[in-house]
Symmetry: C2
Subunit: 318 residues, 2 copies
């Protein structure tokens, strides 16, 4: 079996375009400003048992980085450097090659250097750290929402969750529908360009990784405010729209994770600017509600009534 | 059971002294220079099986950070920010509390802010990312050794490995000896101050995490040089010295990991300055050999002959 160092060199040692010193030392060196280097390093400690899921490693490589890029997108940051720690049950080179292909395929599209990390033996575990740049004071935070802000969401919601339910056998999608939903589940596209374009326009933002109600709930909690959203305004793929308002479809829409869209708030006076920013980066955005002073999160049904969160079981997601 | 967010808030959300924005958002914000923030984030993906080692969680918390601080020490960097990703089989609050105590006990001594990370369910896995500062161009790298450099090592070698062998039942230490060796194994003290003090003096450095021969081998490989070290010059605790040259003791000394001392090279003209720097931070250093142009790593025995690395089985460590 190849050693840890061989495997790092073989799969993860690429020239670093933005780093003073990349993979291969105790730490990487980055120089975000003149006269100052940052040393960056990651280690992993694992205690575990042998386990190997059958996920496609290239999709896993893509997704492991994508979910991190999505975090930076929600901050309006430009991703620059990543660290990757992998625990693997055995040194499976075909798996690592596939994983690296997926990881670097996405990294190269976004100009991200892998500058460090660790590999170790253990139950399969992927830990990525990402570093990005954002001009001082321009980051989009969860605690910046203001009363009266419009609430927006990018792209469409619920497709990834629908794909997961399909895999779990909870519903049956036609082949083309399943392919589209599984693409959303396995190969999410982080909204990095949209996040950058929203700097200076949005007051708050989060990426929808755990589900709209839960993630929007984090904005409300950190901003100490409430919100109301319109069920009919939520952007859904046709395959999901056709199944509403069945409870399972509603769950995918409101509490389904893995979409990695951005949910953000912005003042009503910036509606045209938000639309223009989204258009400039080729991403659709939908206005789904607004921020209010009253605590809590209310979901208005198409008939004008409020969704009973307790009855639908959504109250613990908000 | 408490949610992931509760657990983060309870154990890992501390005020960030050096960060613009700490735990609780999609990414942390750090500002290493004027006019520029860095967003920092970590995620973890885990697939695994239930497993719980019986290690003391506070020691584990200390060690998970210590090994990362040691990496920065070997770069002459001042640690500033850490990210911690934890996979846990179950939300064991007593375990987390102990782990946090050990982790923050060390973090606070070094002024390190925990600025992000992730917690998830899975086979026990700890992944730490550390960020530190080093003045531009002053970092100690593995590729900086020069022909004629003295080779140095801090503290003592082999104690941690001896403690591990004791735990494994491969030898039996007296109670006080065992306690000292296990302290080295479980609670290593990173040589951060020494690393900083060596900036501008040493030409290369590495921390001894995998064993002297293997780690020194990384310096030689990256510097494309060779070295000779004197067995009699290696600093060893009395408990190990008493057992030399038995093969097991030799293995602990030359190939035992977990000591987290610094191994570094410096020009002979700087011997007094190196000693003064080490003295200023209260760490002993020993001159153990020198860098040469001839490739390979030779270990000279007290009788003047060379240790036969093939016979002793050490050749694959160097």
């Amino acid at each position: 079996m190849a050693s840890e160092f061989d495997l790092i060199a073989r799969y993860f040692d690429r020239p670093a375009a933005h780093a003073v010193l990349g993979v291969g030392d105790d730490a990487a060196l980055i120089r975000p400003g003149p006269g100052l280097d940052l040393a960056v390093s990651a280690d992993m400690l694992v205690a575990g048992r042998h386990f190997f899921p059958d996920a496609d490693p290239a999709q896993l490589g893509h997704k492991a980085l994508a979910v991190n890029l999505s975090d930076l997108a929600a901050m309006a940051a430009t991703p620059r450097w990543a660290l990757l720690s992998v625990a693997l049950p055995e040194a499976d080179e075909a798996w690592l090659a596939g994983f690296a292909r997926g990881f670097f395929g996405l990294a190269e599209r976004y100009g991200v250097d892998l500058v460090g990390g660790d590999t170790t033996r253990g139950p399969l575990n992927l830990s990525v750290t990402i570093l990005g740049e954002v001009p001082a004071g321009q980051a989009l935070r969860r605690d910046g929402a203001r009363v009266g802000d419009d609430l927006w969401v990018s792209g469409e919601l619920g497709g990834a969750a629908l794909g997961l339910r399909h895999l779990q056998g909870q519903l049956r999608l036609a082949e083309a529908e399943a392919a589209a939903c599984l693409e959303r589940l396995h190969a999410p596209e982080p909204r990095v360009a949209l996040g950058r374009a929203l700097a200076g326009l949005a007051n708050s933002a989060i990426d929808v990784s755990d589900g709209l109600l839960g993630d929007l709930g984090h904005i409300l909690e950190r901003s100490r405010l409430g919100a109301e959203i319109e069920l009919a305004a939520l952007p859904v793929p046709a395959v999901l729209a056709a199944r509403l308002p069945a409870p399972l479809a509603l769950a995918c829409l409101l509490a389904g994770g893995d979409d990695y869209e951005l949910c953000f708030s912005a003042p009503p006076g910036r509606r045209a600017a938000v639309q223009a920013a989204a258009h400039s980066v080729g991403v659709a955005v939908s206005r789904i509600g607004h921020i209010g002073a009253e605590p809590g999160l209310r979901v208005r049904r198409p008939d004008g009534g409020l969704l009973d969160m307790e009855v639908t079981g959504f109250d613990h997601f908000a």
